[in-house]
């Protein structure tokens, strides 16, 4: 009975909820101030903002590798320590591909399964499927350094997807790639999300990327790091290159860039009055 109730709560709970979270560093820097956010299951949310706005810090909290100074986070209504026990999985893709240089692409992708002691044969099948899913089916036996930057990122994405996560966290994953490769990977990521329906949190400083990918954009601002707006993106579900030049896309980009510019101006004005007083 109690178990059933827990399960019901679990289903109803948001994938992630952030309640009044602060992060202060010892040197007095306020990385995050009073952050409140709920991310529903199956959402694709982008955290958008300039450097230093705490978006990466917030994402690391979602991954459990950073802890808030105040406030708390819940994963499917639970504390982090118990995440994973009811079969909830989380994966993260970093700014760099962070592949092990001594291991082949397939071994790199297999790592999360190996760490979880998944039997070899099942793991092999899942690795092959994951590599196929990112277009690297033929590159399993290759060492990472033989791949281009975009392909390394694809391998990194395959490693994140191989566990079939319920929550996928991406920290400016395609930031170091050229625009064409990035657009290509964005399209693939969007298609993967539509196919699998997992919850995705995507950190970026590119307005276009955020609008193209997301169902909701969370706009953040620096000094102190905080959320200044949440903008739902009502675009078509199927998004392709035509969407990138469509009127609604441009309108969303305009709204967001105005929001950010206003916030920037306001914070500059604040700083000036701060200096005067």
């Amino acid at each position: 009975m109690a178990a059933t109730q827990a399960l019901i709560a679990d289903v109803a709970a948001p994938s992630l909820s952030v309640q009044r979270v602060d992060k202060r560093y010892a040197n007095g820097t306020i990385a995050l101030q009073d952050v409140r956010l709920a991310i529903e299951p199956g959402e694709f949310v982008s955290l958008l903002g300039p450097s230093g706005c705490g978006k990466s810090t917030l994402l690391k909290m979602f991954a459990g590798i950073e802890t808030p100074t105040h406030g708390h986070l819940r994963w499917w209504g639970q504390a982090f320590e118990t995440v994973g026990s009811p079969g909830r999985r989380m994966s993260m893709v970093f700014q760099e591909a962070t592949l092990m240089p001594w291991a082949t692409v397939a071994d790199n992708v297999r790592l999360p399964l190996d760490l979880a002691h998944v039997p070899r044969r099942e793991a092999d099948a899942r690795v092959a499927a994951a590599l196929d899913g990112v277009g690297l089916a033929k590159f399993g036996h290759v060492l990472p350094r033989e791949l281009s930057g975009g392909m390394q990122m694809r391998a990194s994405l395959a490693r994140a997807l191989v566990t079939e996560p319920d929550l996928l966290l991406l920290d400016e994953p395609f930031g170091a790639l050229d625009e064409f490769t990035r657009n290509c990977l964005d399209s693939d990521l969007r298609a993967l999300w539509q196919r699998r329906g997992m919850t995705v949190v995507f950190v970026t400083h590119s307005i276009y990327e955020a609008v193209y990918l997301s169902s909701r954009v969370v706009v953040m601002q620096a000094r102190p790091g905080r959320i200044i707006a949440e903008v739902p993106i009502e675009g078509p579900l199927e998004r392709d290159d035509a969407y990138r030049v469509s009127e609604p896309f441009m309108q969303h980009c305009k709204t967001l860039s105005e929001l950010i510019a206003d916030a920037h101006r306001a914070s500059l004005a604040n700083e000036e009055t701060g200096v005067q007083s």
Partner: protein, 308 residues
Amino acid sequence: MTGEVLAGHSGKSGRGAAAASSTAAAAAQGAGQRAKSAARPAISSQRQPWLQRPGVMKALAPWMVGVVVLACWQAWCVVMKVPAYLVPSPAAIVSELVQDAPLLFGSLLATLKITLLAFALATVLGVVIALLFVQSPLIEASLFPYAILLQVTPVVAIAPLIIIWVKDMNVALVLCATLVALFPIISNTVLGLRSVNPGLINLFRINRATRWQTLVRLRIPSALPYFFGGLRISSGLSLIGAVVAEFVAGTGGSGAGLAYQILQAGFQLNIPRLFAALLLITVTGVVLFAITAWVSRAGLRGWHDSQL
């Protein structure tokens, strides 16, 4: 190689030596001319002369330097009539090496045994200590100063003590050489075990890897390039340690090492034998270094920046 054979051959008579070295010079000149004249047709006929292939000259250059130096040395000894008890000619050294081969190679074997045992012991001990150090900062903080103490104390100063305390001479010698070779392995491996990509550490944390999994799958592979660096330094140091320990021990008899032969040869003013023993030590050191370099290349092949 050619230089040694040439010098050995020429050692039989003074005139022969002069003739041989002049022949060598002429041959070198000839080769140069041939290379020069071959350069022009090579462009049209596609067939490159082997001397001009990239890499050949680079591989050949150090040997050429050796040949030239040995030839000059030989010529100097012969022309100036330098007595062998001051500076023996290369030819005299080689002929001594051949004459006293059983004695010298027996000693080489003894020294080699000490060296390899010490090298193996230092490697195993060094890795174990390094793994211990990275388990907790407290362990490292409390023990690392003593590792440094071990490193900065000259082995010549401790060797007599060890030789007094340890009954078995071979064990004493191995211990001395191990002390010399240990530190680079410890410090390099510790550095390597700590030099792990922070992104990969986070990845392992997110995937809830155990301490053991992180060590075996992440820290140890990351440490390999550093460990191999330490191995290369220690291979030479274990030989130096073995020779120094033998010097201090001064043990003679059937199992005497190369250091004893050098000591004896010095006392007897048998300078060619001294040089011959020295040559064997040097060649051993170079071979050891080459082997560890090869192992390192094999271990890091393809993925580490140093091997590309």
